[in-house]
Structure formats: structure tokens, C-alpha cells
């Protein structure tokens, strides 16, 4: 138990340190000094996939696998644009509500009917891609609210933007939640020790 736990912390920490070191050393390869914009840009890239990775990670810790995140992401974006033409906040709220509903329906099938997560989320992924395609007519949809688009990416303290700050905040709050008693992580642990393993494709088999 103890060495496994330590490995669980050391490997991601080492990966993070490695990435930061590589980032700091990039001037050696490019011959150009690092600027605050480089840091801002790197954080924007992090924000691009950070929330998606959190979503997949959450399901993996619960011993399942969500293949539908990219579908939910696409539909969420479409809805935020369609519903947010008059008010960006309204679009955001509708998109988040739809995303939560999409996840809850899949979660209900997986938890209550005990259908394996891979085929459920795969089918949902196909359906959601179709839905995103149907909403947009296969074309890219432009968000006309320029003020909101600019606000999301405007620089704060040189290196941050609302986009990257939201992702960082979500990562940090998720980190503290998952350590709390009754969290997904602990539920998955007790489930793993209590009963026989469920599906052969469960995401995170430590041993």
C-alpha cells in the first residue's frame, strides 16, 4: 500500500518537474529568451485540455473510462454559442447544464444498470458528435459576442487569463475534493477491496 501510494505521487510530480525544466531550457534550443508571453501561451495550452483531462481522470479514478468527453465538449461549445448570442453568461449556463445532464444520464446507466462504461460512453460519443454536427449543420459556428471572446483570453498579471485561471482553480479544488472522505477516489478504493472487480476494462488497476 505504502510504496504504491508514494509512486502515485512521485510519478506525476516528476512528470511536472520534467516539463517545467524542459520549458525553462527551451532557450538553449531556440536561442531566444523566454518571455512572459511564452508562459501565458503555455498556460493557454494547458487550459485547452486541462478541464477535459480532469473529466477523464475523474472517471478513471472511479475505475471507469469516459470516451464521450470530446463529444460533450463539442456539443457544449455549440450550445454555448447558439444560446449565448444575446448573453454569454446564459450560453455558459445552458451549456454547463446540458453537459451535466449528458454526464448524469451516462452515469445513471453505468451506476444503476451497471452497464460497462466503455460501450455506453462510446455510443454517447457517436451520438454527441452527430448532435454537434446537426446543431451546426456541419459548418463552424461563429460566436458574435466579441467582448466575451476577448475577455476569456485577456491577460491577468502577465501570464494568466480567465480561461487558464478557471482551469487551475478547477484542478486545485478537484485535488482537495478527491482527498476528502467519501470522495470518488475513496469510494473506488473501498469498492475495489469489497467486491470482485467489475469490468475487465476498468481504467486504473494499480496492482
Amino acid at each position: 500500500m505504502r510504496p504504491a501510494l508514494r509512486q502515485e505521487r512521485i510519478v506525476p510530480a516528476a512528470a511536472l518537474v520534467l516539463v517545467v525544466v524542459a520549458f525553462v531550457l527551451t532557450p538553449l534550443g531556440t536561442g531566444l529568451p523566454l518571455t512572459t508571453f511564452d508562459v501565458y501561451n503555455a498556460l493557454q495550452g494547458f487550459a485547452q485540455i486541462g478541464l477535459l483531462a480532469l473529466a477523464v481522470g475523474l472517471t478513471m479514478i472511479a475505475g471507469e473510462f469516459d470516451l464521450s468527453v470530446v463529444g460533450t465538449y463539442a456539443v457544449g461549445g455549440m450550445i454555448a454559442v447558439q444560446a449565448g448570442q444575446s448573453s454569454a453568461v446564459l450560453g455558459l449556463l445552458v451549456a454547463v447544464a446540458v453537459g451535466a445532464a449528458v454526464g448524469a444520464v451516462q452515469g445513471a446507466l453505468i451506476a444503476w444498470l451497471r452497464v460497462p462504461s466503455v460501450p455506453v460512453t462510446l455510443a454517447a460519443y457517436i451520438a454527441l458528435l452527430g448532435l454537434a454536427y446537426a446543431i451546426s449543420g456541419g459548418l463552424s459556428v461563429t460566436f458574435t459576442n466579441r467582448a466575451a471572446t476577448l475577455w476569456v483570453d485577456h491577460t491577468i498579471a502577465g501570464v494568466f487569463s480567465p480561461r487558464s485561471l478557471v482551469t487551475l482553480a478547477a484542478s486545485c479544488s478537484w485535488r482537495s475534493c478527491s482527498a476528502a472522505p467519501g470522495s470518488v477516489r475513496n469510494c473506488a478504493r473501498s469498492a475495489a477491496t469489497a467486491g470482485p472487480a467489475g469490468s475487465p476494462v476498468s481504467g486504473s488497476n494499480a496492482s
Binding site: 444498470l113 451497471r114 460497462p116 460501450p119 462510446l122 455510443a123 451520438a127 452527430g130 456541419g138 476494462v201
Partner: protein, 321 residues
């Protein structure tokens, strides 16, 4: 291994009975719903449309037949199908100047080796197939970009036209699909290797305890899948006459959808190649009806996803009883 200790698992006898009753009921319901809609659709009941349905099911179907064996063997799904078929198509086109036979053999070899290696990691080292194949998909897709330099790979010479032949008005790929489906079904039902596939998929630990070569059985399933992927890639290459990095499109998802609609259980141990064939044709028929009735591509994909979800839930709920 320790074959002295373990008696043949009792599961062996019932594994191959896959509850045809409940699925037949589900199929009947579907036909009752689909049939009136289909026959009242203009131009549905024409020979040309029947050909179009089979032709559009052919390439996805060939890949799905291979994916069926992987799923039955308990290796769930491969997320690297599109990338593998694309690389195979590029190899085929680039080596065509060596002659059609050499190019085809090299392409088949490439597909089998690339995929069997993944089967090796799953079968012997218990790698999680989904995580592994997502990673492999990135690596193979990167290989495709490297191989092609990011530009379309065009045929090194002609000679592939024979693959685009349409004997009796049907593309050659349709006949290959039928042959592969029958071959896969025969392997599954009538050979020792096929029976072992079901046993390994049903209960890996028990299969290992019974002395079955779990690793080898898994690799054989993946190698067959690689063969099917390579055949798909060769037909894709011949049909498009050049290969770009996104040649195979949504092949990965479409093939898995066909396997799941055919009623094969994701956990393994149950399923059949002929039912996958049925799944591929069913998806093709539904897309065709929606297309003829003027629905958009998005709606076709949406309905496909809902169909897969419905079948998955149904198969699971029925399977638990």
C-alpha cells in the same frame, strides 16, 4: 501450465450459447419499426439502393469482423483502427511499383504485425487495451505523418484497378466481407482456437488456470484483427487512389458500433461474426433510410449513436438474467 490441477471449466458448455431468443425478440421489434419506414421510403426498394447499402457496409464491416474476435477474446476494443488502416493504405500505395501481389502482401504483413504487437502487450502483460490502443493510435498516426511527410501518398504505379472491380454489380470488398465473416464464424465455432477465444474472454483467470495459452490466444485474435484492418486499408487505398493521414476517417468508431449493434458483449466471451455482419448492414440500412428521407449527416450519426446505446443497454440487461 498447471493443467493437472484444473478441470475443464464448466462454463465451456454454456459459453457458446449466446441467448438467441432475447436477441431475436429485439431484432423482431426493430424490423417491425424499421420495415414500414423503410419500404415507404422512396427509392428504398431498388436494386441500386441495395447495392449502395452493401457497398457502404463493406469496409466498416471487414474491420468490424476482426474487432469482433478482439472483443470476444476479452480485449474490449482497439482505438487505433483508423490509424492502422491509413498506414497500411500508404504502404500499399508506396510499394505498388513492386507489383500488386507484393504490395498487398507487404500491406497485410504491416497490418498484422502492428496490431499483433498490441495484442502481445494485452495478452502477455495485461495492458489495458483501451489505454494502450489510444497510445498506439497516436504513435501509428505519427508514423503515418512521418511516412507521408504530411502530404498525400499517391500510387507508385497502377495495377490496383482489379480491387475496384464490381462482379455482378457489387464491389469486390462486399465479397471479401462475406468470405471473412464466414471464415471468422467458422474459426469461432468449429476450431479449437475459436473455442479458446470464448473461454479466455469469458474468464481469463479460469482460462489460465485451465492451462489455456491465454497470451497466444489473445495475440491470434489481434493478428486476425490486424489482417482485417489491412484488407480494409488496401481497399481504401485502391478506392481513393491516394492516401492522406485522415483517409480512414471514423473507421474506429464505426467498426466498434457495428460490433456492439451485433450484440457482442464488451466484457468478452459472447458474440458472433455473423451478428456483427448483421450489425454493419443494419447501421448501413438505417443511415440509408435517413439519407433517402433527406436527413442531414449529423442526424444520421446521432441516430447511429442512439441505436448503439440502446443495443448496449439491452444486451447488458438481458445478459444479466
Amino acid at each position: 501450465m498447471m493443467s493437472l490441477l484444473a478441470s475443464p471449466p464448466a462454463a465451456a458448455a454454456r459459453v457458446r450459447r449466446a441467448r438467441p431468443g432475447s436477441l431475436a425478440v429485439a431484432l423482431a421489434v426493430l424490423v417491425v419499426v424499421l420495415l414500414p419506414v423503410a419500404v415507404t421510403t422512396e427509392r428504398f426498394l431498388t436494386l441500386g439502393n441495395a447495392r449502395a447499402i452493401l457497398a457502404s457496409a463493406a469496409l466498416v464491416g471487414i474491420t468490424a469482423i476482426g474487432a469482433t474476435l478482439v472483443m470476444i477474446a476479452g480485449s474490449a476494443v482497439s482505438m487505433a483502427a483508423s490509424q492502422t488502416a491509413t498506414v497500411v493504405a500508404m504502404v500499399f500505395l508506396a510499394t505498388l511499383d513492386q507489383g500488386l501481389l507484393v504490395a498487398t502482401l507487404l500491406a497485410l504483413l504491416g497490418g498484422v504485425v502492428l496490431t499483433a504487437v498490441q495484442g502481445l502487450a494485452v495478452g502477455y502483460w495485461e495492458a489495458n487495451p483501451i489505454v494502450l490502443t489510444i497510445a498506439a493510435g497516436f504513435a501509428i498516426g505519427g508514423g503515418a505523418i512521418w511516412f507521408s511527410g504530411g502530404t498525400p501518398v499517391s500510387a507508385a504505379s497502377g495495377g490496383y484497378d482489379v480491387l475496384n472491380a464490381t462482379p455482378l454489380g457489387l464491389p469486390l470488398a462486399v465479397y471479401v466481407l462475406l468470405v471473412l465473416a464466414v471464415l471468422a464464424e467458422w474459426i469461432l465455432r468449429r476450431t479449437t482456437a475459436g473455442r479458446q477465444l470464448y473461454l479466455v474472454g469469458e474468464n481469463r483467470a479460469a482460462a489460465r488456470a485451465a492451462g489455456l495459452p491465454v497470451g497466444r490466444v489473445t495475440v491470434v485474435a489481434w493478428a486476425f484483427f490486424g489482417l482485417c484492418l489491412a484488407v480494409t486499408g488496401v481497399f481504401l487505398a485502391a478506392f481513393n487512389t491516394s492516401a492522406t493521414t485522415n483517409l480512414a476517417g471514423t473507421l474506429t468508431l464505426d467498426a466498434i458500433a457495428a460490433v456492439l449493434v451485433g450484440g457482442t458483449a464488451i466484457a468478452g466471451g459472447k458474440g458472433s461474426a455473423l451478428r456483427t455482419l448483421g450489425g454493419a448492414v443494419l447501421i448501413s440500412v438505417i443511415s440509408d433510410v435517413l439519407l433517402l428521407r433527406g436527413y442531414s449527416t449529423g442526424v444520421q450519426i446521432l441516430v447511429k449513436g442512439i441505436l448503439v446505446l440502446a443495443v448496449v443497454v439491452l444486451v447488458h440487461v438481458r445478459g444479466r438474467r
